[in-house]
């Protein structure tokens, strides 16, 4: 029987392959949380609207069609009901400027993982936030 106290991880990436890789790594590391998936910022907003009380962390790509990860994050930090959900950026853009930019938008940014990443880097970045 599923443990209803375990919260969910929201994975937002336009690449199905990247979402599958990320989930496989986290499940393989023993993480028992359920996953919600979105392929764009818009879809993520819909999913978050329905599930925000159950989401313990958001893993967020940057470059996505229509609404980028940064635009999504700008929206999230303005809504008190979801602003405190930790966000870890998981993106191919790894420059110092981009990291600064993300931190400017969300001073409470929980982490920044650059693709392609080693599994342990991803796990280390999120494990403190799992509930």
């Amino acid at each position: 029987m599923a443990d209803t106290n375990i919260k969910k991880i929201l994975v937002i990436d336009d690449s199905t392959l990247e979402r599958e890789l990320l989930i496989e790594i986290l499940k393989g590391s023993g993480i028992k949380n359920e996953f919600l998936q979105a392929r764009s910022g818009e879809q993520a907003i819909e999913i978050l609207g329905r599930n925000y009380k159950d989401v313990c962390i958001i893993l967020l790509d940057w470059q996505m069609p229509e609404m980028s990860g940064l635009e999504f994050m700008e929206g999230v930090v303005k809504v008190p009901a979801v602003a405190k959900i930790p966000i870890v950026m998981v993106t191919a853009s790894g420059s110092d400027d981009n990291k600064r930019q993300a931190k400017q938008v969300n001073p409470a940014l929980a982490g920044y993982v650059v693709k392609p990443y080693e599994p342990e880097i991803l796990v280390d970045a999120i494990k403190a936030y799992l509930k």
Binding site: L17, A92, S95
Partner: protein, 193 residues
């Protein structure tokens, strides 16, 4: 009137940065060494309707996937889709799954064309991201980067590029002495910081 060549005098330098970032990414990911240094050649951009032609059948004579990502000088240019550059990745259809598995990506169904297109886009994304980071480290301004767009065989509507440029760099990477990855790069003038 401008008839040929590149306004961007740093194009060769950018090509070196691109090749270096691809080689490093393959090595870091799974210690994959290419058979030899990539072949990098300047080629004229073939333009129609203001877009750059990208045809995979011309690269491999076999079905292939194409993914591209655009770069912009700033967020305003990105909103207007005024590209300063592009990366176009070509992979032969029969080799997409092999290449992605070599890079430790899980692929459930290697006959699903949508999944293969997504694979090519995913690889294009990490190459474009690594290249953007190299450009930034070399002292150029931080570029904005688009999401990936993928096609099978040819980019039907073409690839946005910087109109001042007439040349692109085509880099071919070899694995076990076979042509396995082709990357085209075009880039307009990118200011230093």
């Amino acid at each position: 009137m401008f008839f040929g060549g590149s306004v961007n005098k740093d194009l060769d330098q950018f090509a070196k940065m691109l090749n270096r970032s691809v080689e490093k990414m393959f090595m870091d990911r799974n210690e994959i060494r290419f058979s030899k240094d990539p072949d990098s050649e300047k080629r004229l951009i073939i333009e129609y309707g203001g877009l750059m032609r990208a045809d995979g059948l011309e690269k491999y004579n076999e079905s292939s996937f194409i993914s591209y990502i655009n770069y912009y000088l700033n967020a305003k240019d990105m909103e207007k889709n005024k590209a300063v550059g592009a990366i176009v990745v070509y992979i032969e259809q029969n080799y997409v799954a092999t290449l992605l598995k070599m890079l430790k990506y899980p692929l459930a169904d290697d006959e699903d064309l949508d999944a293969l297109a997504d694979c090519c886009g995913t690889l294009c994304n990490i190459i474009a991201g690594a290249f953007k980071t190299e450009i930034s480290k070399a002292g150029y301004i931080e570029l904005e980067m688009s999401h990936f767009t993928s096609y099978r065989n040819r980019a039907v509507v073409g690839v946005p590029f910087c109109f001042n440029e007439r040349e692109k760099i085509e880099s071919t990477f070899f694995i076990q002495n076979q042509k396995r990855l082709i990357i085209e790069m075009t880039m307009g003038v990118v200011p230093k910081r």
